[in-house]
């Protein structure tokens, strides 16, 4: 019979100590106000050339040269079939009321659906391009709807917001627009 080393009582607390370490580590990770979002590889790069037909008759289409006006603009990627897009519409309206110029790109959508969506949720857009095969969406590094880009006056992508803009995030968008002025 071997003499297995006796378990000492302090050893029994080791699992708990290890677990406490885990909790502390995770708390630090959870509470840290870090930017968890994967930054688009396109940030800091100019928009690629594109020219989209109008998504609805009431607004003009959208092309690369519309972003060379010298003033920062928001570019919102949306679709009528997207529920978070409807959720963020009031935030976009609020931004538009504060004088922010917003352009939209409707992804894989039909004319009448877009019109119905805008009639229901308001239309904050100056121009709306129709991207029927997600070509422009892919080219600017967007992987889903909704997403919102801050484009500076020279057509360079400065910020990418993934997911809907929530009410608390309006100041963040305004700040990013301000930063894009410099």
């Amino acid at each position: 019979m071997n003499d297995a080393p006796r378990i000492r009582s302090w050893m029994l607390w080791l699992p708990l100590a290890a677990f406490a370490g885990f909790v502390v580590l995770v708390m630090v990770g959870l509470l840290r106000p870090a930017d968890r979002e994967v930054a688009s590889a396109m940030i800091g790069k100019p928009l690629p050339p594109f020219d989209l037909r109008p998504a609805i008759p009431e607004r003009p289409g959208l092309s690369r040269k519309d972003f060379a006006g010298g003033k920062p603009r928001l570019l919102n990627i949306f679709a009528s079939w997207c529920i978070p897009c409807a959720v963020e519409s009031s935030q976009l309206d609020a931004l538009a009321k504060q004088g922010v110029e917003i352009d939209g790109i409707a992804i894989r959508d039909r004319r009448e659906d877009v019109a119905a969506f805008l009639a229901r949720n308001g239309n904050p857009f100056a121009r709306i391009g129709a991207d029927d095969v997600s070509a422009v969406q892919m080219a600017i590094g967007s992987s889903g709807v909704p997403e919102t880009f801050v484009i500076d006056g020279r057509g360079v992508i400065r910020y990418q917001h993934i997911g809907e803009i929530r009410a608390g995030q309006v100041p963040l968008i305004l700040r990013k627009l301000k930063e894009a002025e410099q």
């Binding site: 297995a4 378990i7 009582s9 677990f19 580590l25």
Partner: protein, 648 residues
């Protein structure tokens, strides 16, 4: 109506869990003794109510009731029926509801059938189970209500992530959940045993079928998940050390260790403290895994909606459940007597060694999974991958596999190597031969080399316990052990061969061109558009011929789903007995050529065949245990009946 009905059932189930917890806890005291009789019925009704709530959610998904927010966010009327059904658990809220449902049903089942343990231990166990459930009920009801309504009702739903629209994946999460949550029973048994200081063979025997059952589901779930990632993601790999994969591997490692140490406790009344700790750790790993996935704290391809509030809630649950259990362990384990002693060279000794090795691998996987967090806390963004995990786990896996070959041949209590030397000569010689052959014939890495050589010896060694046995009288658990160990050898061979001999080709091919890959010649015959119920795709037609033989036609696809818009690749696989051809269709390059990725993976399917064998071994062992339990119950019933008649 159905949504409100489901929500009501969920609240009632939570209330019964509260009752079960209170009655179970008070049932100890002299005055509360009568309350103890409430506990078992409460557990059973709670299980039924949780199932009712889950069934209500299934109905809502099958009908695509878009007035329910969860359905609108995760389903779409144009989706095939099977994925509407699978959508029920293919999201955060639904999967948490599935979690409490499985916990409730498992608790109900224990309450209904388990009669071997002393009643106070059962009360403590069921109270513990109810306490853990209660936390998850609170999480569902206060922070993840699956039955929330949406106003106004949207015209159409958002759709299910196309990657999840696959028949294999439809049943992957429920399988894993049965495994994760089945371990909660082991956890509760450990709590009950610690509270009443009844850590002994009876505890191990009561716990073992649950660990086995959970372990079978985990094994099959991990195997299926790995195969799914292999053919659906189109990367040609089968294991990525992704945090979520690790989240399922860690409970499996702990459960494997627990299974073996519970056998020692049941058979020999040794390893008491260690077994009870593993009982706590196994389910803790399930909860930690769930937390890592659900909080989005680690970046992963699997992450559901990232939400810090939910993360904090689950972390609080973790801290209470695991922290509480480990505190109880620290306080009580010292008073658990050590149990029987044994020699180093003995069946127990081998099992202890493998337990320690499994725990070490568990520690390595846990550390590697958390390392990015640790590094981020120190200010760097990193991720660790195969260069860390593979050699570090092999460091402990290789000695473990060696002992696994020997252990089943050793006797309990004490033995000597001299006795089994002759039986081990054949596998040892085969391993040596394989090693020499490989060293001369091919240039491969150290790990695949070790894997191939070991796998061959291990496969033979795993069959040795059957030597000289009458096959018809060999108990099922022995068959189970042999088949599971053989499965390890088979999977190991597949892994090593895949890593050593895979041939990869990335080409841009025109229609009509032929690409050689390994022993195959693959000709691109044409590209056609095709459409499914909720996707369109470009489908390649290719003729693949093995060593100039008759060509077989394969059809890899690049699919585009429109709700939500996302591209997936459906790889084409061609399986032979000695390997698999794997073809992925990529983008058009512009000048009429198509990107193709082709792999020839010798013996790769053995990886999953091995996984299935391991699971099958578990099933046989479980059948054997349950059958002998039933026989015992029947025999006891007969004795009691006879006594009764004699008494008259």
């Amino acid at each position: 109506m159905i949504a409100e009905f489901g929500l009501a059932a969920l609240w009632l189930a939570a209330a019964l869990a509260a009752l079960q917890f209170l009655a179970g806890s008070l049932g100890f005291t002299v005055r509360g003794g009568a309350l103890g009789s409430v506990v078992r019925p409460a557990a059973m009704v709670q299980g039924v109510l949780a199932l009712t709530a889950f069934a209500a959610l299934i109905v809502l998904f099958c009908r695509t009731d878009l007035s329910v927010k969860l359905v609108a966010m995760n389903s779409h009327s144009a989706k095939p029926f099977i994925y509407k059904l699978a959508g029920t658990w293919g999201n955060h809220e639904g999967s948490m509801l599935l979690w409490v449902t499985v916990m409730g049903l498992a608790g109900a089942f224990v309450a209904a059938v388990e009669r071997r343990l002393p009643e106070p231990t059962m009360l403590a166990t069921l109270a513990g189970q109810a306490f853990v459930s209660l936390g998850f009920y609170a999480f569902l009801l206060f922070s993840s209500n699956p039955f929330e309504r949406l106003d106004p009702v949207p015209a159409e739903g958002q759709g299910l992530n196309p990657l999840l629209q696959d028949i294999g994946l439809a049943f992957h999460p429920p399988t894993l959940y049965l495994g994760y949550v089945g371990l909660s029973i082991a956890f509760s048994f450990a709590i009950g045993a610690l509270i009443t200081r009844e850590v002994g063979p009876a505890f191990a025997r009561a716990m073992r079928p649950w660990v086995l059952g959970a372990w079978i589901f985990l094994t099959i779930g991990i195997t299926a998940g790995s195969y799914w990632a292999y053919y659906e993601l189109g990367w040609g790999g089968w294991w990525f050390w992704d945090p979520v994969e690790n989240a399922s591997l860690m409970p499996w490692l702990a459960a494997t260790a627990l299974l073996h140490s519970a056998s020692v406790l049941a058979a020999r009344n040794a390893l008491r403290v260690w077994t009870v700790m593993l009982g706590v750790v196994a389910f803790s790993m399930s909860m930690v895994g769930t937390f890592l996935v659900r909080s989005g704290i680690l970046t992963s391809v699997h992450a559901f909606a990232v939400d810090p509030e939910r993360g904090t809630f689950i972390l609080a649950l973790l801290a209470i459940n695991i922290g509480g259990a480990l505190t109880l362990f620290a306080l009580r384990a010292a008073s658990v007597t050590e149990g029987e002693r044994f020699a180093v060279v003995s069946r127990e000794g081998a099992l202890v060694f493998n337990n320690v090795m499994l725990s070490a691998i568990l520690g390595i996987v846990l550390f590697g999974t958390l390392y990015p967090l640790l590094a981020e806390a120190l200010g760097a963004k990193v991720s660790v991958g195969p260069p860390y995990f593979n050699p570090m786990s092999a460091l402990f896996a290789v000695p473990m596999l060696l002992v696994m070959a020997v252990g089943p041949l050793l006797r309990w209590r004490r033995d000597s190597f001299a006795r089994i030397r002759a039986s081990l000569a054949i596998p040892a010689a085969l391993t040596m031969l394989a090693a020499i052959g490989l060293a001369i014939r091919v240039q491969i890495g150290v790990l695949p080399f070790l894997g191939l050589a070991l796998a061959i010896g291990l496969a033979v060694a795993s069959l040795l316990p059957l030597k000289g046995c009458d096959f018809r009288r060999t108990p099922l658990p022995v068959w189970g052990m042999v088949i599971a160990h053989l499965g390890i050898a088979v999977a190991l061979f597949g892994m090593a061969s895949e890593s050593a001999f895979t041939v990869e080709k990335l080409v841009a091919a025109r229609v009509g061109e032929t690409t050689p890959v390994g022993p195959w010649n693959v000709k691109l015959v044409g590209i056609e558009p095709v459409a499914g119920p909720n996707w369109t795709a470009l489908e390649g037609e290719m003729h693949a011929s093995y060593r100039g033989g008759a060509p077989a036609t394969i059809h890899p696809q690049a699919r585009f789903f429109w709700a939500p818009p996302q591209q997936t690749s459906e790889s084409a696989l061609l399986t032979r007995w000695n390997g698999q051809l794997y073809v992925v269709l990529g983008e058009e390059t512009g000048d009429g050529r198509w990107q193709l990725r082709l792999w020839w993976k010798p013996f790769a399917p053995l990886i999953w065949l091995g996984g299935l064998l391991i699971g099958l071994g578990g099933v046989l062992a479980l059948l054997g245990r349950v059958a002998s339990d039933l026989r015992r119950i029947v025999a006891r019933g007969k004795i009691a009946y006879r006594r009764q008649r004699q008494g008259r």
